[in-house]
């Protein structure tokens, strides 16, 4: 687990250095993500080695957003001043963006024949 964590941190570190050195529009961890995918393609054993630790971290991805979420409370006065407008802008645009993105993806998948029956949701209510 410590080896896996060291490797993951090393990818983040290299990503951070590249992001700053090359002035990329992507933050360091996202660059590290891309590098790790490339490394796994080159050496599939790496993926097997990191998988247990990665799954452990990803199964609690929500937890890592909590401290930043509490920060919303610290900005409460600004949010309250523009309350209705900001709330409706966030809610309206998020609903529209999810609907538009998903419907477009689905339509183009049908149109280009990229439908994947194994990726279809059952009829449960999840």
């Amino acid at each position: 687990m410590i080896t896996a964590l060291s490797l993951i941190l090393a990818f983040q570190l290299v990503g951070e250095i590249l992001s700053r050195a090359l002035d990329l529009p992507l933050p360091g961890p996202v660059v590290g993500l891309c590098l790790l995918v490339a490394a796994c393609i080159l050496r599939p054993t790496l993926a097997a080695r990191l998988r247990p630790t990665a799954q452990g971290l990803l199964s609690h991805l929500s937890l890592f957003f909590v401290p930043a979420g509490v920060g919303v409370v610290a900005h409460w006065p600004v949010l309250r001043d523009h309350g209705i407008g900001l709330a409706l802008a966030i809610m309206g645009s998020t609903l529209l963006a999810i609907a538009a993105g998903a419907l477009t993806f689905q339509a183009v998948a049908r149109w280009t024949g990229a439908v994947d029956p194994s990726a279809l949701k059952g009829r449960s209510n999840d």
Partner: protein, 238 residues
Amino acid sequence: MTDPALIWSYLAQGPLLWLTATLVAYVIGDALFRAAGRQSWANPVLIAVILLALLLGATGTDYATYFEGAQFVHFMLGPATVCLALPLYDNLPRVRRAAWPMLAGLVVGSGVAITSALLIARAFGISGPVLASLAPKSTTAPVAIGIAERIGGQPTLTAALVLLTGIFGAIVVTPLLNALRVRDWRARGFAVGVAAHGIGTARAFQVNETAGAFSGIGMGLNAVLTAIIAPIVVGWLG
């Protein structure tokens, strides 16, 4: 026996108390989420944030003191983002097949997110720095803050708007896409990643591994696209 006030003043200064409180709040949030049958409205992040906000208010603790302890949890966002590489790698054959749908979904989802947010806000008389702070709210926080700084927004306000967008997106995605009868996990995950970044991705992983993988890709691609188009849209509508 030591005076409880002394013990409190000792604990209030170190990271232990607020680190523990953050984890316990999340454990409670996650337990309630499970007890509610993993329904999206019982979002564990939202529950934990509300509990901690109440606790900070009750004890008169400011955010900077809280963050001294919580920063260790916050730090793990970086390594967890790197870990998104694994589900992406596992789904690579699926990803290759879905290049065109992803490109179309990205451009439409990202464009609609920015344009509709700015139009609605402008209709309510919001302009200037607040409008610029709103533009990148669908992207992951570090990218959104960078974009906001470049287009004249307030980085701290952007961070709060990013969080609210993520929580709202994670709560509405399941009922919304069920109502629209979108059954493709790839489309469902990808759209929530584009519109609601990492918190949407966390929700997608709670439901389906493929949805989570595509959500991570949507989040990454939208970070790049928003960096390019947000300044242009703010130029038109700002």
